[in-house]
Amino acid sequence: MTSRSGLWLHVDWRRFLVSWFALPAAALAALLIGAGMLLVLGANPLTGYRALLEGAFGSFDSLVNTAIKAVPLVLVGVGICIAFRANVLNIGGEGQLVIGGLASTATALALPDVPRPLLVPLVLLAGAVGGAIWGAIPGSLKAYFNVNEILSTIMLNIVAVQIMNYLLSGPLVDKSFSGFSLIPQTKRLSPNTDLPVLVGGTHLHAGVIVAVLAAVAAYVLLWRTGFGFRLRAVGLSREASGYAGMPVKRTITLALTLSGAMAGLAGAVLVFGSASHRMVTDGTATGFTGSAGFNGIVAALFGGLNPLWTMVSGFVFAGLLVGGNAMQIAVQVPTALIVALNGLLVVFVVSIEYVRRRSRLHQESPREAAGAGSEAERVGAGPSPSTERIEE
């Protein structure tokens, strides 16, 4: 803490370096470890990574695929931004995606003949409502009963999967299908629910616009409205916000509800933007979500919990997932490598967070730093301080 005296310049530099290069450094570290793993598996890392890049961003078609893949990641990620900013750790993206998908699917099955301009928004809304309910449950349990939201969201993921398996192999099952092995899936949903295609000859659907709008809306909500201010204040310190007269419990509940709504919307987009235009699973959450509920967390963390940057990082991570297939073909390394690297990235990003926090405390006054030290450690430890560079 000697930094006050004459080392301002030095500290600023350090802070600058840490805040701007921490995330790229984390990415680089993960890529290097990935290269090491490729080498161990007997593949040329350069060939592998080039195939990955080309597969993700190398042509118009691959860009379209990446954009489509990015939609659920961005939507979930935007929801994660909202929840994490309130210091509510929503690990329930998978379940909220599933319930959103189910709610929108059920709506589509119930109202197949509503005109398309009405039905498309309606089913998307149904998805958002489904996800919102699945977020409101752990949200209110946390706010009013002090139930750890990490656990309740995880348990609700499991419940959601069982509900999905029940509905897709029972009440919502495709009855026209008469094979030996009954696939848990619905029939092809009404064409009136198909998301409009933006570019003829491709699958690029309006979900992309939905994701962009959601990201912008979340940004405005978080930084341009009183609610957003209260939400972030609650995220920084529940106690202080309470003393300031803010409705802490309601804010926590709403944060998880909104977060769930975003994931539910993503679930609806997964159904109505899919090539088969039906909801289908393999009996696991991943079978429907493609792990978007977890990958969305990665995208949001890497986007510094800012919805706009999450849009960018969601696109990049979608590229990794899409390019992973090309890499698999080029160097015969399964795409599971990408999942492992995503995990490493999360670990690196949250580890680096500590270094960043320390460098920030260094330039505050000792008293402030001591106070913030304990408080930030407890309350804002993970999410909140990570986007300094974007906010300023």
């Binding site: 793993m37 598996l41 750790l89 690990i91 349990l141 009963f145 002090n146 139930v147 750890n148 990490i150 656990l151 309740s152 995880i154 348990m155 609700l156 993921n157 499991i158 419940v159 069982q162 509900i163 398996n165 029940y166 192999s169 029972g170 696991t284 991943t286 977890f294 967390i297 990665v298 963390l301 390394v333 399964p334 599971a336 490598l337 990408i338 999942v339 492992a340 690297l341 995503n342 995990g343 490493l344 990235l345 999360v346 670990v347 690196f348 990003v349 949250v350 580890s351 967070e353 500590y354 001591a370 030290g373 304990s374 450690e377 407890r378 430890a381 993970g382 999410p383």
Partner: protein, 310 residues
């Protein structure tokens, strides 16, 4: 329903419930030790997957189940070391870093399996070990004392962990570090060292849980655990941070799974309804979380990294 309430079926169901509870029990006992020291390890599922693959691969090639179990635990210990560096030294937000560890384990176990095994070849399953004398008691013997050795290991660990936590200096240190690390530090307890040790022990048990799962099933596949590690974490809350409570929770999950399986086999409930029945423990766990949150207090320093003078 009447086929279910025969002595033979009931006995077999209880025995299978105990067997299915074993991986939950091992993993959640490990998590209990870590949480009592103030560390939330949310990566259990990923660690279980890696432990399961390690054990499966060893069993496939070395044909030695005990070596396989040992390797599962070692893989767990290694992952525990990584988790400890991230949560203790780097003071990361544990609720998120655990998801990272989970994704890493999920991806890496799948990658290794696809690359080095490919097709799911079966391995030997653990043989039944009859407890002398006790196994010959009618009914009870068949329910409780004709299981595989890992079942006994897991259930004997319950009093062992309780003893360590409540009757040893090490246990006192664990609890002190989990309740008030600053106070523990001031009387000379090395907070970081205690937490490193609990995470590594806990993760070894998670690895062991994965190994047990793979060897009980005799198979490995992508995402073998299907979220069992996450349930194990929830069971620690369910059991209010006590080994006996954790055991009760594990048995609940094991028994419900066994009953659903039996009912499905007997045709008492159709496939679709079994999905709903399988939901029961998860719903019950959420309810239990509410009750526990009102009645019990979690370790005061849980998921809070410790920093001197902080």
């Amino acid at each position: 329903m009447r086929q279910f309430f025969t002595l033979a079926v009931l006995t077999a169901t209880v025995a299978s419930g105990i067997r299915l509870a074993t991986p939950f029990l091992l993993a959640s006992l490990g998590e209990t030790i870590g949480q009592r020291s103030g560390v939330l390890n949310l990566g259990v599922d990923g660690i279980m997957l890696l432990g399961a693959f390690g054990a499966y691969y060893t069993a496939l090639h070395a044909q030695n189940l005990w070596l396989a179990v040992l390797l599962g635990a070692l893989v767990g210990a290694l992952m525990g070391l990584i988790t400890a560096v991230v949560s203790v030294t780097m003071k990361a937000e544990q609720g998120i870093s655990g998801i990272g560890v989970f994704l890493f384990g999920l991806g890496l176990s799948d990658l290794l399996f696809q690359k080095f095994v490919g097709t799911p070849l079966p391995i030997d399953t653990l043989p039944t070990a009859r407890v002398p004398l006790l196994a010959s008691i009618p009914t009870i013997g068949k329910m409780l004392f004709q299981a595989n050795l890992m079942v006994y290991v897991a259930f004997l660990l319950v009093p062992a962990v309780a003893f360590v936590l409540n009757r040893t200096t090490y246990g006192t240190n664990i609890k002190a570090v989990g309740e008030n690390p600053a106070a523990a530090d001031s009387v000379g307890v090395n907070v970081a060292r205690v937490r490193y040790s609990t995470i590594i022990i806990g993760s070894s048990l998670a690895g062991l849980a994965g190994a047990t799962l793979a060897i009980q099933l005799g198979i490995f596949q992508q995402n073998l655990t299907q979220g069992q590690g996450f349930i194990a974490v929830a069971l620690v809350y369910f059991g209010a941070w006590r080994p006996s409570g954790v055991m009760a929770g594990s048995l609940l999950y094991g028994m419900v799974a066994a009953i659903v399986l039996t009912w499905k086999t007997l045709g008492i409930i159709p496939q679709s309804a079994s999905d709903l029945a399988a939901m029961a423990p998860a719903v019950l766990t959420v309810v239990a979380l509410v009750v526990v949150a009102r009645r019990f207090r979690q370790p005061a320093a849980l998921a809070k990294p410790y920093e001197r003078g902080g």
